[in-house]
């Protein structure tokens, strides 16, 4: 809002008839605040006020209905001492491999391949890859619960080809060792289409002359990818990285539908703990503190990624 076009500013001076205090072109005018007021009021009512309330609640021991007792930062202290919370963040780090790292690798690889060859019906395939993202997780999760079942298609297929000893007897979601990766693969299936779409759009933006130049210089496919495609996709990569990492930190629906944090506590994640404490076990203060910490971590991670990517761009 600080960058009003110079034309508008200077015309305001000229149209006034009487001479006003001279305003430099581009200098912000107070009326700008009026323009953003409607959006800001909505943002304040639905984001800032609840945020402040959340910070307030996080400083109390509160069950949600009876009077709260002030505990200061004790709820935040729990973050450093509770093994539940620690394992929740560990799980989310593991999920990051599936929700962010692998989809980006797969997406980049497919985008690079697709940028070199012309495929008939590309739009159709793009739609197919994007489809998992359009259908809500809760619906597709039901199908995946069946796939992962001890008697489901994944287990029966593995048994049919003689790999039966890999199949956990409790099913993939019921086994302590496979539950988290199973949730991860489900998320990955939804994520990589999203990465691919953004990367494909980015590839189309790269001038064909760059590829021609690279080929004239004798670059092979691998060199071409690292010298032309990857640098050209820097902004897309940044956006994808930020969005998928934030998405992973906020993982909730997959866990809620697929495992409810189980078996044991092997698939609990921070957002699930927030929900459980706020609505199931009456620990609203602690839930608020966890939520605020999660928000700060997301801020920090986003900031870190952006700084990293920008530094990469300068060199």
């Amino acid at each position: 809002m600080s960058e009003l076009p110079a034309v508008v500013a200077s015309r305001a001076v000229a149209d006034g008839g009487r001479r006003r205090r001279e305003r430099l072109p581009g200098e912000p005018r107070r009326i700008g605040y009026l323009y953003i007021a409607p959006a800001f009021l909505l943002f304040a009512a639905f984001n800032l006020v609840p945020l402040v309330q959340g910070i307030n609640v996080s400083l109390y021991n509160w069950d949600g209905i009876s009077p709260a007792t002030w505990v200061g930062f004790a709820n935040y202290g729990e973050f450093f001492t509770s093994p539940d919370i620690r394992s929740g963040y560990l799980h989310v780090l593991i999920l990051m491999i599936f929700y962010s790292f692998l989809p980006i690798i797969i997406g980049l690889f497919l985008a690079a391949v697709m940028s070199r060859i012309r495929i008939r019906g590309l739009t159709f395939f793009r739609m197919l890859l994007f489809l998992p993202l359009v259908i809500t997780d809760v619906v597709t999760a039901v199908a995946w619960i069946w796939i992962y079942d001890a008697t489901g298609p994944l287990s029966t297929t593995l048994k049919a080809v003689g790999l039966g000893h890999f199949v956990p007897s409790a099913g993939w979601l019921g086994d302590f060792n496979t539950a988290l990766p199973a949730v991860g693969v489900f998320g990955m299936w939804g994520q990589f289409g999203f990465c691919l779409i953004l990367f494909l759009a980015g590839v189309m933006k790269i001038p064909a002359t760059l590829y021609e130049a690279a080929r004239v210089d004798g670059a092979n496919a691998v060199r071409e990818f690292f010298a032309v495609t990857l640098p050209g996709l820097r902004y897309e990569l940044q956006v994808v990285l930020v969005l998928t990492v934030i998405g992973t930190l906020g993982t909730f629906d997959e866990i809620y539908v697929l495992t409810a944090g189980g078996p044991g506590t092997s698939t609990t994640v921070p957002a699930y703990l927030v929900w459980r404490r706020a609505f199931q076990t009456g620990q609203v203060g602690s839930a608020a503190a966890l939520g605020i910490i999660l928000m700060l971590i997301i801020f920090a991670v986003t900031y870190g990624i952006n700084r990293l990517m920008e530094r990469g761009a300068e060199t």
């Binding site: 402040v52 307030n56 001890a150 086994d175 902004y235």
Partner: protein
């Protein structure tokens, strides 16, 4: 310049400072407000709905299936009986009710009658916040005290400050009960050459014999986590004294009682052994509870350890299945099992029609209501019930077992009522125990940690 990176500038820092300031301002007010302790309302002038113009009663419940239909019928019959009453039924599933009830009942227009789960996580918090009405005078006026055993009233009793469970005022009432026990497939039991066990050892011998002959001894699926509590509880009930378990769950002796006892370790060891020996359905960790019930009803498995509520799935008049209580360690000892009252009805403190609400609660627990509910698979706990039950059916077995254990004062409350977070701690620990992830001693230590944390917070 992309939008995401703009948070990196000084503007971001200024926003953060603003946030901190707002937080300080916000911190000045305590959430939850003040609580006035609710006093016991005076005894009603007469029983029944007072004829003081039109009354709308809002009811929140979680009944579904056949029981839900009975509720609809009872509601319209109540409206016909008292023509000035209109009933607004708000039906939610168990999870939804747990989440939304606290919000609704603390709001400006609370429902009049609510179905509140017993225990610290639900009813305990509502009583503590002064949101429920003590029902003692209504209990006297309608004779609820004489109608059901004292243990049924105890699980809905609290001191008015919500600090003591199992004693004090009455905050909820039901005459229907629940009981956990062992269902068995009659045909399979005789095919395997086995009889109904009379001691815990005999039960274990039956399990071994069934396993040896290639039968699944206990039908089980624990993906939903709650069934594990019941498998553990019926074993524990035979190994620890009833009074210790009840006092532990009510928290009557604060932190002097512990979950970490030799009896509890022994019960955990037994459960783990059963799991190791393959007495449960293979792959039970990933199996759903509903699937297990459906498979048992189809004739798979010899036993299934669960509650009376699956009677409706088997069919109340089913004669192919029987039900017995987990037998005691010593032959002839009185029966002990987990169960007790069903979901009680409570009156919200903000209700403007408390007398009418009490009349409604009495109606939902009348002999007429009980007759209809029994056919839908519910277990009556009140005096003079069971006239309409056909002998020889699975329902008759369940009702007889419930009566026997209730008369012997052997009903142990559900263990997950013990602390607000006990359900999560216990279910997770049982999954780990049965999955051989932890030892029985680690199991009781993990659970005890939750228990002692809560007792410390109460002190």
């Amino acid at each position: 310049m992309n939008a995401v990176s703009s948070i990196a500038g000084p503007r971001f820092r200024r926003a953060l400072a603003l946030l901190a300031l707002l937080a300080l301002v916000g911190a000045a007010c305590t959430p939850g407000g003040k609580t006035a302790q609710v006093s016991v309302p005076p005894p009603p002038a007469a029983t029944g709905v007072p004829d003081t113009g039109p009354i709308t009663l809002t009811i929140w419940d979680q009944e579904s299936g056949p029981v839900g239909k009975v509720w609809d019928q009872l509601n319209s019959e109540f409206e016909a009986k008292y023509t000035n009453v209109t009933i607004k039924r708000v039906n939610r599933d168990f999870g939804e009710l747990k989440t939304l009830l606290k919000l609704a009942i603390s709001g400006p227009h609370p429902p009049d009658v609510v179905e509140a789960n017993q225990g610290w996580p639900d009813m305990g918090q509502l009583v503590k916040a002064g949101l429920l009405l003590p029902l003692d005078n209504y209990a006297k006026a309608y004779g609820w005290n004489e109608r059901v055993p004292a243990t049924v009233l105890a699980v809905s009793s609290w001191t008015p400050d919500g600090k003591q469970f199992g004693t004090g005022n009455l905050f909820g009432y039901t005459s229907m009960g629940e009981i956990i026990g062992v269902y068995y497939n009659k045909q399979k039991l005789s095919d395997l050459g086995l009889t109904i066990p009379t001691t815990f050892d005999e039960f274990e011998q039956d399990l071994a014999a069934a396993k040896q002959q290639g039968e699944v001894p206990i039908m089980f699926g624990n993906n939903d986590a709650f069934p594990g509590i019941h498998e553990y509880a019926v074993i524990q009930d035979q190994m620890a004294p009833v009074s210790t378990l009840t006092d532990l769950i009510f928290g009557l002796q604060g932190s002097t009682l512990s979950f970490d006892t030799p009896a509890n370790v022994q019960a955990a060891t037994t459960l783990q052994e059963w799991s190791q020996k393959g007495y449960f359905t293979p792959g039970f960790g990933g199996g759903g509870y509903d699937t297990a019930v459906a498979n048992f009803a189809k004739g798979q498995g010899l036993f299934m350890i669960t509650g009376n509520w699956i009677v409706a799935n088997l069919g109340a008049d089913n004669r192919k299945y029987g039900f017995f209580l987990m037998p005691p360690v010593k032959a002839g000892d009185p029966p002990v099992s987990t169960g007790g009252a069903g979901f009680p009805l409570a009156i919200s403190a903000g209700s403007e029609h408390a007398d009418a609400a009490a009349a409604y609660i009495d109606w939902m627990n009348s002999d007429h209501a009980s007759e209809l509910l029994v056919q839908a698979g519910e277990i009556p706990l009140h005096t003079g019930a069971s006239s309409s039950i056909v002998p020889g059916t699975v329902l008759a077995d369940v009702v007889n077992a419930a009566t026997a254990v209730s008369e012997a004062n052997g009903v142990v409350p559900y263990e997950d009522w013990a602390t607000p977070t006990f359900y999560d701690s216990l279910t997770a620990a049982i999954q780990e125990l049965m999955g051989m992830r932890i030892t029985p001693q680690q199991f009781v230590s993990n659970v005890q940690k939750d228990y002692s944390d809560f007792q410390k917070s109460r002190a």
